[in-house]
């Protein structure tokens, strides 16, 4: 396993990426992001933190191929990412994206079935993913019968069955309470270790980023750029108990030092423009 600090193989790369949204008639175009350079190493856990509206989610959607950059290039496993989502990338969104008309089991099976996988394989992968996410007892339930945290697990399970090599998480715990978030953080760490996938997590919670990641990129207010990249040097085997380590406080302290001024800037125009 490639250690996060050994400068291992590059898994995905953004080079000079910017995103400018054309303004509505009579309005200035919105420069949301960049230019941003980023190299994700295979198998690392990378978090992006930044004030609201700094273009974090835009960065993720560009990497996923859901949006095209205004300029710059994006590559995943050596191949350029164009207008389509490349095979091997899984995305979990901030909003509840579970399908309310399907049971938990059918939600998880959705992607594999659409891809035409044989039913035996679907069944095996789904049962496996549901067991891993602790959802096996809710397989027949509908999402409306579950809590917000459980629904987000359903979405993770749906991504997991496709065995992604790069998992993009867009503030997946933004709507959850603090304790549930700590526990979901443990789940994500477990998931990361077991799948050996590269994980990119977008979050606004500094403690969450500090607890989960190998490296953390701190972004400036709009247009978002990386101001600092912090290495945590946590062991691969870790969980939410590291919040009590002294270096944990140092990391969040350094992040906040970077972000405090930026967050104040973004307060001035919070809610304006695409996030």
């Amino acid at each position: 396993m490639t250690g996060p600090d050994s400068g291992g193989e590059v898994h995905a790369r953004l080079l000079g990426v910017t995103r400018i949204f054309p303004g509505a008639t009579g309005q200035q175009p919105v420069h949301a992001l960049g230019p941003v350079d980023l190299e994700l190493r295979r198998g690392e856990f990378f978090a992006v933190v930044g004030p609201s509206g700094c273009g974090k989610s835009t960065l993720l959607e560009i990497l996923a191929g859901l949006q095209s950059p205004t300029s710059g290039t994006v590559t995943f496993e050596g191949q350029p990412v164009t207008a389509d989502v490349p095979d091997g990338i899984g995305v979990v969104f901030q909003e509840d994206a579970s399908f309310p008309w399907l049971t938990v089991w059918d939600n998880a099976a959705f992607g594999l079935r659409r891809a035409g996988a044989p039913e035996a394989e679907v069944s095996r992968s789904v049962n496996d993913a549901l067991a891993f996410m602790g959802l096996q007892d809710f397989a027949r339930a509908y999402p409306s019968q579950l809590s917000g945290g459980m629904r987000q697990r359903v979405c993770i399970a749906r991504t997991l069955v496709l065995q992604p090599r790069l998992i993009l998480l867009d503030e997946p715990f933004g709507a959850l309470d603090a304790q549930t978030r700590l526990l979901m953080g443990d789940e994500v760490l477990r998931l990361w270790r077991r799948t050996s996938a590269t994980v990119l997590l977008i979050t606004h919670a500094l403690d969450e980023a500090a607890m989960l990641s190998d490296r953390i990129g701190a972004m400036s207010a709009r247009p978002g750029r990386f101001m600092d990249i912090v290495e945590t040097r946590w062991p691969r085997e870790r969980d939410s108990t590291i919040v009590s380590e002294t270096s944990f406080g140092e990391i969040t302290g350094r992040l906040w030092e970077n972000l405090r001024g930026e967050s104040i800037k973004s307060l001035g125009h919070s809610g304006a423009g695409p996030a």
Partner: protein, 247 residues
């Protein structure tokens, strides 16, 4: 507990309605408003008659055609306005305006175009039904959470897979609500058409009975239509609730 109380309460409501009916009957007399018992007796006499069957079938035929047209055109317009943003923005207020005018004023125009036969009734019924079906279908499509489309893309769904596996089930509950309201107003349109200028159908029977001062017949037909509307609506509402409970 709650369930039995609910049944009791519903029975109490029915009893109150029957009592009010009986009370009115005692106040205004049998010729103006027959009582529940007399109406029920007349019902048993009317329903097996050929005259009733003929008129009920005429209404049913006009209603069925009108409903098919209302659903077909309403869904097509709704999908168009929902999927094409500019058309929707331009068209929605126009449809809303059409929806809330007294459409009966347009019936003479329909009669002049389609004539006095079944086609006029069908056109007038469909005119009522198209609008709510189109409006709710449009709103259903607009209300699809954008994140569903992103999920479809990350799961590599084709255009048709996205439509059938994501858009269709996501819009279904609201579309069914539109179909339910469309059902109701189409029925109203057909009956209004029959009441104004027709020689056949249940709407005609009511008006004819009134001019001949046959209160029993008038009331019997009205109550049968009432029961039909309530039953059909309850069925569609039940479907809608099932879809909503899931969502």
């Amino acid at each position: 507990m709650i369930a039995t109380q609910r049944v009791t309460d519903s029975l109490i409501i029915v009893a109150i309605l029957l009592a009010v009916w009986q009370g009115l009957n005692l106040m205004v007399g049998d010729t103006a408003l027959p009582g529940p018992a007399a109406t029920l007796a007349y019902l048993a006499h009317l329903v097996p008659s050929a005259r009733f069957a003929e008129n009920a079938l005429a209404t049913l035929a006009a209603f069925t055609y009108a409903l098919v047209i209302a659903y077909g055109l309403g869904l097509a317009i709704g999908v168009w306005l929902g999927a094409h943003h500019l058309s929707g923005a331009v068209g929605e207020p126009l449809l809303v305006a059409l929806y809330s005018i007294p459409k009966i004023t347009l019936y003479p125009v329909i009669l002049l175009i389609f004539g006095l036969g079944i086609s006029g009734k069908v056109a007038f019924g469909a005119l009522h039904g198209i609008l709510p079906v189109a409006l709710l279908t449009m709103s259903a499509i607009r209300n699809i959470p954008p994140v569903y489309l992103k999920v479809a893309r990350t799961l590599h769904l084709s255009k048709w897979q996205t439509i059938f596996a994501v858009f269709f089930p996501a819009t279904l509950p609201e579309v069914v609500a539109g179909l339910r309201i469309g059902f109701t107003v189409t029925l109203l349109g057909v009956l209004l058409a029959e009441m104004f200028a027709s020689k056949r159908g249940l709407g005609f029977l009511i008006i004819n009975a009134m001019s001949l001062a046959q209160s029993e017949e008038m009331l019997t037909v009205a109550i049968m239509l009432f029961v039909f509307a309530v039953l059909a609506n309850s069925l569609l509402l039940w479907m809608e609730h099932r879809l909503h409970r899931r969502n």
